[in-house]
Symmetry: C2
Subunit: 520 residues, 2 copies
């Protein structure tokens, strides 16, 4: 069988895999043509970019190479590129057989399993739009998304069927065992049957590069926002990167320096200089990227400059904590002055000076930006003010051209007329050795209007040390940051907590902290 050859080491490592065989429908025919059918009238020297091309090439050139392994489950599966591509092809045909038309939405609710990877490609094969729903959402949120997206079909991992109870949409359950009796496998088999072995040439190549391919409902602060994005499939793979990962790493008692440097991507929210420094200590090279769902995830990177090597860890970490420059795939990222009261919305955007001080809003444009907010032209128009996507993130622009996020616009604390960046405050508080995580929000103040309030999680190994002495810790922490922050930015209140409210993507929900503050 095709996939055995390159998968030897995995069979060795995982006895269970030895016994796995893909379903009959997953085995490609002897001679395969890995080309989609071209629509007529396409010039010889032009082909529309299509994310499916990556998989088709892999299957064409390296059919027996290991594509996908899913070992740590009761029923491990393993697929070569040849087999995996066949499954994707089956998926596409099964959708078409089910009556799915180009631009129809197809929903999926599943953890990181083979079915998700197959859905992302199979939906493209049918020229439909994938709508991946976060497994951490509630039944109500899922119901809303299914209705709003008008999904024609929803795939659900067997662990999450409760999220689609009572859904009016046809449901395909994924038992995630790769066996003939898995409803999901039966769905794929039906596609293979329906294909009549027309293979890839039986599916049409999407000639319109601007055709939608993904409908993403963000778990961001706008609650039920949503965006349709164009072809940029690869970047979707960044989705799962979170800050939590790394914080857990450096605080694990068994953490020790790695023999060889390991590159790790940091995304989700701006890392503290403290975190980056700690990562370097255990030989993890942090690659700091920044972006939003509406820019397809990461779209800036803090490009490392050789001469930074000569700097102290703390200096270097501060530079690395900046968001940097736009990706090659993002045509442009700028920091511009925000729209002032009474200003006409389509006034040309004006860059803030590259002085590392003047705060403005980060804006993006280019192939990496979402196409629109689905069914919400008004929000789209607002977000695209000045011909750029307005992120709502506040930043400064440094003389070396590096962008550094300061805050979400609404997270700014206006203390005695001064703008205090809650992020900047958090970064300094996080340098206290006993602080594990910290979040800062504005709290109303009779004299200064607003003052910063800090919510702190103590380092597990230090919690005991301050037990019953939180007032002392508060003093110690304030003392620690005094020299490091301007007076107006020093936290007025510090509250030690056991956990911080987070979104399903691991971002701290400041809106929840504000509710707490409001009750004080």
């Amino acid at each position: 069988m095709a996939n055995i050859q390159c998968a030897e080491e995995f069979f060795m490592a995982n006895e269970a895999l030895r016994h796995f065989r893909p379903t009959q429908a997953s085995i490609p025919p002897r001679e395969v043509n890995y080309r989609l059918r071209l629509p007529s009238g396409v010039p010889v020297h032009i082909h529309a970019l299509n994310p499916l091309a990556f998989l088709l090439r892999a299957a064409q050139v390296y059919p027996s190479k290991l594509a996908l392994v899913h070992p740590d489950v009761p029923h491990p599966v393993i697929y070569s590129y040849g087999v995996w591509a066949q499954r994707v092809q089956n998926f596409a045909y099964a959708l078409i057989q089910a009556g799915v038309k180009p631009t129809d939405r197809i929903a999926i609710i599943a953890p990181n399993t083979p079915a998700v990877a197959e859905a992302y490609h199979g939906v493209l094969g049918a020229r439909a739009v994938i709508c991946a729903i976060n497994t951490r959402l509630t039944h109500g949120e899922v119901a809303y998304i299914l209705e709003h997206s008008e999904s024609k079909l929803v795939f659900v991992d067997h662990e999450y069927t409760h999220l689609v109870k009572g859904a009016k949409v046809p449901v395909v359950v994924i038992n995630d065992n790769g066996r003939e009796d898995d409803p999901y496998e039966q769905f794929l088999t039906s596609g293979r049957k329906f294909s009549g072995e027309r293979g890839w040439p039986g599916l049409e190549w999407e000639r319109n590069e601007d055709a939608p391919c993904a409908l993403n409902y963000t778990s961001g602060t706008t609650g039920r926002s949503r965006c349709v994005s164009g072809y940029e499939a690869l970047s979707a793979f960044f989705r799962e990167l979170r800050m939590g990962l790394q914080i857990g790493l450096i605080n694990a008692p068994q953490a020790r320096r790695l023999e060889r440097p390991v590159r790790a991507i940091i995304a989700g929210s701006a890392p503290t200089a403290h975190l980056i420094g700690e990562l370097e200590k255990i030989n993890i090279v942090p690659i700091h990227v920044y972006g939003l769902t509406c820019t397809y995830g990461p779209s800036t990177k803090c490009y490392y400059q050789p001469h930074w090597m000569s700097l102290s860890l703390e200096e270097r970490a501060k530079l690395l904590a900046r968001q940097g420059h736009s990706f090659a795939t993002a045509e442009d990222a700028r920091v511009v002055f925000q729209l002032k009261e009474g200003e006409i919305p389509d006034a040309p955007l004006v860059d803030v000076p590259k002085d590392g001080k003047t705060m403005g809003e980060i804006v993006f444009r280019g192939n990496i930006v979402m196409k629109e907010y689905f069914k919400d032209p008004e929000a789209t128009c607002k977000a695209f003010r000045g011909g750029y996507f307005n992120t709502g993130d506040l930043a400064v622009w440094h003389p070396d051209g590096y962008i550094a996020v300061q805050d979400r616009s609404k997270d700014i604390i206006i203390s005695g007329g001064e703008n205090a960046s809650s992020l900047a405050i958090e970064q300094e508080l996080a340098t206290h050795p006993d602080v594990l995580e910290v979040s800062v929000v504005a709290r109303p103040h009779p004299k200064w209007g607003e003052r910063p309030m800090a919510f702190v999680i103590l380092h597990p190994q230090k919690a005991a040390k301050w037990k019953g002495r939180h007032a002392e810790f508060e003093q110690d922490l304030k003392k620690h940051v005094r020299g490091r922050l301007p007076g107006f930015a020093c936290p007025e209140w510090v509250s030690v907590v056991d956990e911080l409210p987070k979104t399903s993507t691991g971002k701290i929900q400041k809106v929840e902290l504000r509710k707490l503050v409001a009750k004080l």
Copy 2:
């Protein structure tokens, strides 16, 4: 100065560089905006791909990194990305000042010097079309190209001014010393003055991805053929790769095995298994690519399969000598049956079976294919038969999907009704230890119609051995290939020569050999 920091090692290595400073006009202003002006009405989520973007990004992110060094000349030059980008910008403005409009052709005749790299980018900046003319062409050929291309301006390296004597086109001479008194430098300076420091935003971003950017006159067998290609600038850098390189390497008496493997690209014409084997012996890892000027150079690659490692050198070399699969940038490469007599030209193309035997023609399509033959719609239409670019190269398709070139259609030798591939014959002759280079053409034969005749250059160290005994060598060579080739493919005649006629790009001119044969 910006470029000093990263260029230290070069200053150390080359004393002369220490004294070089770029012209005033080459120093970028303190604050630079590396973005071209966007034409109005471009959607936020779309940006046309533009090869200039690579340079602009490099200059934005790494302004002081070493971009370009030209050390081994009387007046060495060295530029950082910041400085080099400024020079390119000056180039673009100077063209506009000279009245150059989008799609106008700009010619350049120069060896591998900084001016060439600057021209390739500067011409894009002015949205004009670069026409790089081969320095090995004759005065007459150059005159034809300048006239046919209607070039508005021609840049000529000081060593090649004789090629443009009497040209009606305005000429800018390049003294290649980077000094204020170099006419080329004065041209750049005039551009900087004309720019009024509007910088990159003073130049418009080309919104049409299908706009022409290069007009290439091939030195191929069609003599004065020419093609206009769309944006694919990077691949243009492959231009200079030649087989000659490697043949010289393996035959150099001082050749010895390298400590670490070095990747080397083989292109220009199909390498013999013998050559690949010899390269591996000295630890050079050959990357075999194949393509034509009209597919922007390399467009297939012989992708290496892990399990080939277990094969013998000769077996592996035979596999590596194949042309392989299309690049990611080439949507598709196929081997199809050639147009038969009386067949309608726009009949759909039919793939040859993947049996490694049936011969067909290699065809390409996709973003890497040229746009058209300039001013020759008829030739374009013929070349694009069936919606693909027809290369005229004959090949077989192996069961593993690898394409293997057999011959140019007209180089096939029809001996006793059998099709003999001159390339296949050459590959076997080249395995004789005393053979340095060999070329085979058809020679009329009273009984068989045609029979192969081989022209052989002896290995320098073996020439003495066979001095005055060429007849014996001929027998020895025939004996060597007898078992390896079918009878009809064994050369009937062998002629030992001192050199083989070659084109300016290093390809053997079989047309010249045929003239010799005709005289016999």
